[in-house]
Symmetry: C2
DNA sequence: TAGTGGTCTAGACCACATA
DNA sequence: ATGTGGTCTAGACCACTAC
């Protein structure tokens, strides 16, 4: 009790205690010690483990909650965030109908157009931090709302973490794809960055979306990352924006 | 000292103390008591004024800083956020060049195409929380990068707060338009929401941007708000995305 | 009733900026 | 040397949830 409290468990550098605690919690999240949806130990418990005050643990958790990695629930505990929760489903999908709410038009009808194992091209490899030629899973699917094909998505997943993923399993899954990644492959996406452009479709894309070659479409290239910013998915979407729009809030 | 600390200055409801403090600070910000770029009183000072602990003031300021309304600077103080700071200039502009950094291509060349006083149409009135027919200022301008016209913007401002704004003053201003709104009209934009679509230009738009009628463009409709979510600007942008893209980070 | 996170306080010390 | 925000602690009490 005479020496200052130490929370070292392999953490190297000098930084505020609560940042070190944050890093330790992050490590355990990444290691899968606490799985999505499950509660992490209480603040008092963690404070005892790490030999720091509850206030310091609290500040570490505050940051992780602000980053959407943890969710606090008063009276219940602190939980590992998940894409499965009703509230935050489709957290990364910003396309909303011009009229009504996303819920009002019901869930999307999904069609897997293609799903196969390929070798990473140069740009896919760069996006996923792989080497060209490395095995990746390539998927093409169409999302329709009220019978109208609205989104065409091509996505690439690194072969290693997603070993065993097939068109059948994709087609059978109900609910968000990111929820399946969590529960079936232990890959939780925590952050994504998107590049948007206006483009015209090629003939394949136009026919899959049921539009002409002169229809402007919103191109959305997304790279989704898991813990520690490791890229785990490249997704290229083509959105019809005749009855929907991409909504963005600037803080 | 015997009674519980009270921070009431017209605040009505029961809510955490720090939320009440936050509301009080917000009021003073809105009233212009502390202007953009200026420091607000120190935490100790505010704690004394409001008769609460420094920790409570700190938590209130933490939230306001997270919302980009205040900026903390260690050793110096806490300052009212402003669009004038080098770091956060063009905070609401998400169009970046495909290669290089926004800075590398230098500031945009700006041309005011049109600027006049009109009566609000139905949709402009709705966006700005005015009544149809109310006076508004309508501006059209083109932004070019490296000689290439890239952005065409139409914007509408409520006539009252922006009385005295003319094409000359707009053309003469160097730096971000939102900085001018702050320093010349006392209107600080704190939040914005955008709706994005892919569209084709009409003939006027195409000629101003130097593109064909078949060139897909990114349509960005923005409503910018000042304190307390009051809408103060409607802006409709058309972005060329052949050498730029709209970058968005999803937390 | 017990356990959780949420609020509030008081005080100590540190890091940074300025004079 | 002084004043600012940043960190850390310890303890009290509140609000919510579950049993």
């Amino acid at each position: 009790m005479s020496s200052p409290p130490a929370a070292d468990a392999g953490t190297p550098s000098f930084s505020p205690l609560y940042q070190q605690i944050r890093a330790l919690i992050l490590q355990r999240l990444q290691a899968g010690e606490w799985r999505p949806g499950e509660p992490i130990p209480s603040e008092i418990d963690l404070a005892a483990r790490f030999r720091v005050s509850q206030g310091t643990v609290r500040k570490a958790i505050d940051e992780l909650a602000a980053d959407n990695l943890l969710v606090r629930r008063q009276g219940k505990g602190t939980f590992v965030a998940t894409h499965a929760e009703q509230q935050v489903q489709y957290r990364f999908l910003k396309l909303v109908p011009d009229e009504g709410t996303p819920a009002s038009e019901g869930p999307a009808e999904r069609t897997i157009v293609d799903c196969r194992r390929v070798r990473a091209s140069a740009d896919v490899a760069r996006a996923l931090a792989l080497r060209p030629g490395d095995p990746v899973l390539q998927v093409r699917r169409v999302l329709a709302y009220g019978g109208e094909p609205t989104i065409l998505e091509d996505l690439w997943l690194p072969g290693g973490p997603f070993k065993g993923l097939t068109a059948e399993r994709l087609a059978q899954w109900r609910g968000p794809m990111y929820e399946m990644f969590e529960s079936e492959f232990g890959v939780r996406m925590v952050r994504a960055e998107e590049k948007l452009r206006a483009v015209l479709p090629d003939t394949d894309q136009a026919s899959l979306l049921g539009v002409t070659l002169q229809t402007p479409l919103l191109s959305v290239e997304r790279i989704a990352h898991t813990y520690h910013d490791a890229p785990m998915e490249l997704r290229r979407g083509l959105y019809r924006t005749d009855a929907h729009h991409y909504r963005n809030d600037l803080g």
